[in-house]
Amino acid sequence: MLKENILNLNDSYKNPFSEYNANVMEPKTILSYWCSPFNFMQFAGVNESDVYTDKMPIVFIGGRGTGKTMFLKYFSFPVQIEEARKIVNDNRSSLTHFIQKGGIGFYLRIDGPRLRSFTGAGVSDETWLSIFTHYFELVLGREYIAVLKRLTEDEILNKKSVSQDFIPKIDKLIGNASKKSRSFEDILAEIDNKLLEVDEFRANIRFSNISFQPQKAFTSESLSFSIPQIAKETIPEFKEGINFIVLIDEFENFLAPQQRIVNALLKFVEPGITFRIGMRSEGFRTFETISKDDFIKEGRDYRKIVFEEVLIKDKGYQQFLKDIARKRLEKVKLFMEKGFVDISKILDNSENLEEEAKLLTKKNPGKHFDLLKDKSPHEIKLLENSDNPLIEMLNILWVSRKVGPNEVNQSMKEYLNGENTEKAKKYKRDYIDKYKLSLMFLLASVYRKKKMYYSFNTFSFLSSGIVGHFIELCRNCFQYAEFENRELLFQKGKILPIQQDKAAKIVGDTELHMIQRIEEFGDYLYRFTVNIGNLFRDYHKDKGIKYPETNQFAVDKGAIEEKYRSAFNAALKWSVIQKKPALQQPSPGKHVKDIYTINRIFAPRFEISYRTRGGYSVELTPQDVKKLMTENDVKPTPIRKRLRNKKNDKEGNWGQQSFDF
């Protein structure tokens, strides 16, 4: 009950998954949480050293929570200097660390509200473009200077060459006419004053029509390229091959004109400098540069690495998640002492569908045989296996596909006896490889109950390659466990499936709700997701399981009407839908197309599979996409009927209907 002196959990326990946001983590914390993805997977041919040395700009693409910021920040100077200090004792030797790496990372993030303030107030787009260019150059220049200052103070760089050669040249560059010798602090203060000019303009332009008249204006490349150039010319250590790696995060927040400025830098990047951009999918608002006739092109001007895609398809992903979880669990004394640091043991590695099925059917065993209304009790008996309702469901499926009950019974027996016959092999293939999960969905449907989502394996699928989702799933299930069964969690290090299921559903619902908040297209995307989720749900209720676990769709994006295509791109940008890595056939015999899935985090909400089977994809027309985005409660049946009536679609041959229990 509520009273004082009860176990105050705050003293010894904290939800290990509660703190999460690399943006707010200090360098030491980032380092302590860092799990190198390079240990588990190869990023499409990119190694860790390529991040520093590859001359071509790289764009890292991934949704919120995929770990992009953690990734970029890891390579930034503040984190790398901490890493260097772990390896070497003296500052001068840290230089070796950077030489070996091949570069120094300069992390840059300009938040959305700031970027959006460079617009409107009656000022023309071109004027804002100049002002933002000036601002961006100053911000990046300042970042360079701040890091070089630190390197000098830590005696990693030679103080003499810096003060005698480097600083005077920088002074001149930023427009200091004074001959008096200055320090890093003076230069930073000078840059800060120039930034203040921009801030004052942005504040006052909202009240009166004023013009921006800085003391000295900076154009593109004037600081972003010049400062590294001067460093190479004047600081001996930079002649040894240390690159300037500019790490720009959340590039999708840059408005189109602002992206043009950075695109120009990517295109005309000079030796010794390179860019690593972190961005959401479809984050490019434009490929143009400052000159509207010029644009950047993937492959020629930059390389693209997709986080989610890599993480989803790579087998190393699960190990990656375990490692991330381990680091967090180890920080909780209680778990550390008891050795409860393996998340796959706490959640159990995989679902136990047979147990789940037994629990589901406990109160009314055999109800699923109502699906076979025309069979005699004797025939039903042949199909029974009281120990395993899923096996019974498979038997029902076979019978509905016109296999005789005797044959079904024979196959079942041979499989259960472990015999090596053709019948047993086919039975096993169908049960284990093809239909088990589908049967579970169907069974839940029959009993008017919901399929549960639990286990580490399920959570890793639900997270859809987005580490943030996985952490949120864990946070919620630990929260439920702490409330509902504290003893089991603290004494045995276990969380029950029912608590994991609640977490999965809450997180799915929350993420679905948040779609509505996506800028500009939130309403369209919410409707689209709900409608397509319901469509997939309809397939999952198909008693014939013609297309097991259907949860992907194909569409020719280019043919979609512009407004809805933009919304579709926003859905990709925000990971509401995810594109499968390569073009595929929507179903056997069809032309290759882009295949998409809805983010699997929504699977519990719609009670659909969290896996991607391949095989059948629902083919949507551009009109379908528009309908799904603009209408509420689109009925799945008309779309399925249309697809059924198409040539070569054999769904109609089974005469199947959706369940309407």
């Binding site: 009950m1 509520l2 959990l9 929260q479 702490e482 409330f483 069964n485 809450i506």
Partner: protein
């Protein structure tokens, strides 16, 4: 109410049990410092045996009330102490506004001529609140009355502290305590009562008696659980009467004389250190085999009645 004549309830329109438990879980995690678990909730729910409505309906009504319970944890109580102190200073300053030349020195003057004292007897909550008040505002000990009969001449204001002042008229304990104190020790001094929570009626009653009241939280009809203005049933207005019947039925099993709280206050709040008996007894009662969800420490008014100590003393 016999189980044979159960009233029809529409508690099905309340949020689901799962949603209510989730709301309570979050409240427990953030406000109640994880002190409530599902097991304890289930134990409490087992008190309700389906004597008025069906079991599931009674569970929902109980959970709805629990979800609306207001619990003040220790940080919040300290904040109330700080708020009270500032409200007191503000009130004193405002009353002298025209004469204030320098705010700082006027504050000093106010504090130099005021002394803080508890309401009620030592061992009651007023004294505890006084301690928290001193701590929370880092006030010097000298500002607190030690020997009530030895007050310096220049003291003009006695500031009484209490946590709740909910009753008016003859039932007003605050009025009787303060008047007794005034008559015994503090004649001709201005009396101010600082209280965390008070009702409008209590404030009006005390002010008529010449006691200034400063309260952080003033309760009105919206806070009476089963009043028609009640915030608890603002959305589910049609649940109000049934819920009242439910609470009264079980309340009368544990507190027959005040099934809906002392003086029929019908409140649903409590502090980390105690729960007032004006709160619905279904939350805190412990007699007749009732399992409480919130602790209340009753006052032991009996003379010479002590708990039995253990074997080794």
């Amino acid at each position: 109410m016999s189980s044979n004549s159960k009233i029809k309830s529409s508690a099905n329109y309340l949020p689901s049990e799962e949603d209510l438990k989730r709301q309570i879980m979050l409240t427990s995690a953030i406000v109640w410092k994880h002190e409530l678990t599902e097991q304890e909730i289930e134990k409490w729910l087992s008190n309700f045996k389906g004597e008025v409505f069906s079991n599931s309906e009674e569970r929902k009504l109980a959970l709805w009330l629990l979800a609306n319970f207001v619990y003040y944890n220790n940080e919040e109580v300290i904040h109330l102490c700080k708020t009270l102190y500032r409200d007191f200073i503000h009130r004193m300053l405002s009353e002298r506004q025209n004469r204030v030349v320098d705010v700082k020195s006027t504050i000093r003057e106010i504090l130099d001529t005021s002394r803080f004292y508890y309401t009620g007897r030592p061992g009651e909550s007023g004294a505890f609140v006084l301690y928290l008040f001193r701590q929370g505002n880092s006030l010097p000990l000298d500002n607190f009355i030690y020997h009530p009969d030895e007050l310096p001449q220049e003291i003009s204001t006695i500031v009484f502290l209490d946590d709740v002042t909910l009753s008016d008229g003859a039932k007003s304990q605050a009025a009787s305590y303060i008047e007794e104190a005034k008559n015994k020790h503090f004649k001709n001094k201005m009396s101010v009562l600082l209280t965390f929570i008070a009702t409008n009626k209590a404030i009006q009653y005390l002010e008529k008696k010449g006691i200034k009241v400063i309260s952080c939280i003033v309760l009105d009809e919206r806070n009476k659980c089963f009043s028609h203005e009640s915030n608890v049933f603002h959305y589910f207005h049609d649940q109000l009467d049934n819920c009242k019947i439910f609470a009264e039925h079980y309340g009368s099993k544990v507190k027959p004389l005040s099934p809906l709280g002392y003086n029929n206050c019908q409140f649903i709040f409590g502090f980390f250190y105690n729960t007032p008996d004006n709160t619905l007894p279904i939350f805190w009662a412990e007699n007749n085999g009732w399992y409480p969800i919130i602790k209340r420490y009753d006052k032991n008014y009996a003379k010479g009645k002590y708990i039995e100590l253990e074997r080794f003393v």
